[in-house]
Subunit: 491 residues, 2 copies
Amino acid sequence: MNKVFAVEFWDEKACDVRSTGPHKGAKSSVMANKILAVDHYLESHRNAFEAQLLKLLRIPSVSAQPEHAADTRRAAEFVRDDLIAMGVPAELIEFKSGHPIVYGERLDAPGKPTLLVYGHYDVQPADKVRDGWRTEPFEPVVEHGNVYARGATDDKGQMLTHLKAAEAWLKTAGKLPVNVKFLIEGEEEVGGANLEAFVAANTAKLACDYAVISDTSQFAPGMPAICYGLKGLAYFELRVRGANRDLHSGTYGGAVQNPLNALCSILNSIKGPDGRVRIAGFYDKVKDLEAWERAEFAKLPFSEGEFATELGGDVLAGEQGYTTLERKGGRPTFDIHGLWGGYSGPGPKTVLPCQAGAKFSFRLVPDQDHKEIGRLVRQHIEANCPPGVSWELDEMHGAPAVLVTVKGSPGVDAAVQAITTSFGTPPLFIREGGSIPVVGLIKSHLKVDTLLLGWGQNDDNLHGPNEKFSLADFHRGIRASAHLLAELGKD
Amino acid sequence: MNKVFAVEFWDEKACDVRSTGPHKGAKSSVMANKILAVDHYLESHRNAFEAQLLKLLRIPSVSAQPEHAADTRRAAEFVRDDLIAMGVPAELIEFKSGHPIVYGERLDAPGKPTLLVYGHYDVQPADKVRDGWRTEPFEPVVEHGNVYARGATDDKGQMLTHLKAAEAWLKTAGKLPVNVKFLIEGEEEVGGANLEAFVAANTAKLACDYAVISDTSQFAPGMPAICYGLKGLAYFELRVRGANRDLHSGTYGGAVQNPLNALCSILNSIKGPDGRVRIAGFYDKVKDLEAWERAEFAKLPFSEGEFATELGGDVLAGEQGYTTLERKGGRPTFDIHGLWGGYSGPGPKTVLPCQAGAKFSFRLVPDQDHKEIGRLVRQHIEANCPPGVSWELDEMHGAPAVLVTVKGSPGVDAAVQAITTSFGTPPLFIREGGSIPVVGLIKSHLKVDTLLLGWGQNDDNLHGPNEKFSLADFHRGIRASAHLLAELGKD
């Protein structure tokens, strides 16, 4: 959405620190002084904050890889210790398996709203050589105002903005202007089940008025955004097996089913050349884009040509009948994430492999249900698997799509004011293709909306090589978070 | 084919060492004594031959893998040194790149036929963990009368039979009964170009009456076979590229073409659910199986049920309208040998990868031409590649299919007699699905047929894990090769 749309939901007067009146004026003046002190603290601690970010980025907290279990724990301890150091009592919540949750709270603003800050300290896997990084993923490098490292934007850098904002308040005013609960997990990238179990079992402890998450992107550099829609996710691993051993393709080829051929056949059957998923029932629950949404998508400052050029040229393709932005933000998708099987070393090898596998996922939109999609996928493979092989399907990760209420939300109004102050321009309202399962989880268990305040950029390359985060946006994000606390704490 | 068919082409009298007549009888008697001495030598050197085989199998001469270049050379030196030790002058023929050819000759039987022994000392890649071997591929283990190791049957074990046969003659009679040239290469498994260049440039040096190669299988245990038909091969590597970097499947999914999806689409377009290749023109040059061949295929002692059971169950599938044996031996095929791209580690990773690749090949039958198939494959991909990606195709390996003349060939008659003596039963005549490019190369440059005398078994798992070779067949093969020299050397 464009600026006009954004301003529509933003009551300037309600947030104006310069509004007058004898009583309000006095209070406002106190608040204004506190904010000045906070801003001063932020300005004078830029180097310290950056040093801390780099330190956290050096911890390879890859939650998916067992060999990084100890590293992942170190990242949790880093976050816990930082909270304690700034004056927020915090602890590690341990589980039978998986990675701990960092939980901390400061509830010293009775009568004021309560904000739940969610973030995650775990990161996606990264390998310099295999994935083609220019630098080591866990040896952060600062260049051209960006920090390059795995987790820079997703989510260590963005998560840290809320910690540093709280620190500024605690170190200047001695307390926070609202009640704040920190919930920082370590299984976001693997869809671990511990978080949902913890939230479900602790709804009173976690009760809040709003959640805030910074794990999304701005619309473009200089165009901060509030994300009001996220896609859901249904992620699968498929393994196909044929003969009881690898065979010679000369001796057995043509007579024995090849699991690699079968895998390609199954995967190709899932999406047609028109970009539409061919699984029966897949679109039944899809909420079509509304006319106003399509109109807003069309108004966004976006050049398909520039978008393609930035990605390397002629690389766009998708569902017929929709624009690139609509496909990205508002339509369900199917992507293969990994293929394996047989020989991939140098030279030829005429093997007829006995097994093959793939990871793939669907991004879902309201009101698709990831569990139902799992059933439909299973039925589809059953009907489309070639003869001569068996298959196994693991449902690895699922999350519902989310649409946040924007109109008439004081929390959204506060966020708009905080962002406007810190970034110098009001935020756009956008829908994103990514999935943040916790947003649906917070909605269903705690019954509150989440403010998705993205400080990242679309080309930050989260999940890819050379992930980065703008240090200017890092500091703007910290300031916006600090001002959000002020806005929410105003009478 | 069955025994009746085999006997049809075998003139017992021409090969009978007991035939009478004053002059011939004396000669025959001398020859018979020499053969007795050879047989005695073979019997008393079984342990020594096995020890040598194990020593050669311990050399990981994987020609495809640069890290094994030195090992591959060691295997060449092993073969050269063995030839020299038995009295065959031999040398390494070096090339600008790639692996040397071992060449040796003993031409001390003027007026007698010349036999060219071809074999290869290089082997397919093998990795215990990745490929699921029970034992280390390059630490041979003898169990139940078999030796288990990479290269046991393909081709170190089979190749060595011809060296040990020559050794027996040289150590007993002091010379060979025919002229023999040894051409043992090290690039068979990678389709190296050095061999063809060498043969083309040395047709006088390599001139011969027959070539003999043991790099195929018996029809079944106790059923030795002469292979008269081999498939050709056209082997490719396809690489598909999309955006200029890996992307997040949430942020970009649905808008940017996914190279893994595109790769599956291309590969799946190559073969239909009926098992027929869908590349335009692919079948144009295919010589249909003749009625007598289909009748012979049908007569072979073969149980489809037992074949499937031995492979693990319901794994058979292929071109409609043909039996399993016809598909294996007489019809062209399409198999994918390797798939790669994206993430295949533990857990989910929502990456939209920027590249993917596959290795695949077609087995060809007469009169398909691998170069023409390469052109057709290129046209097919051009027409079937989804939008948004680019692709590159490497033609890695090509070989024509071969049909050897059986009827009226004295060389085939000699081989039948030698095998009958050594295995106790006459050989079957079969067509195989494998490709031995050198057979076509020998035919085109040296104008002679190749005797394909396979000592292996179909379940030897060449190119797969736990490759094996029967030691009983190893010794029978040595004896058959020694007797072949005698049969060819008879007046």
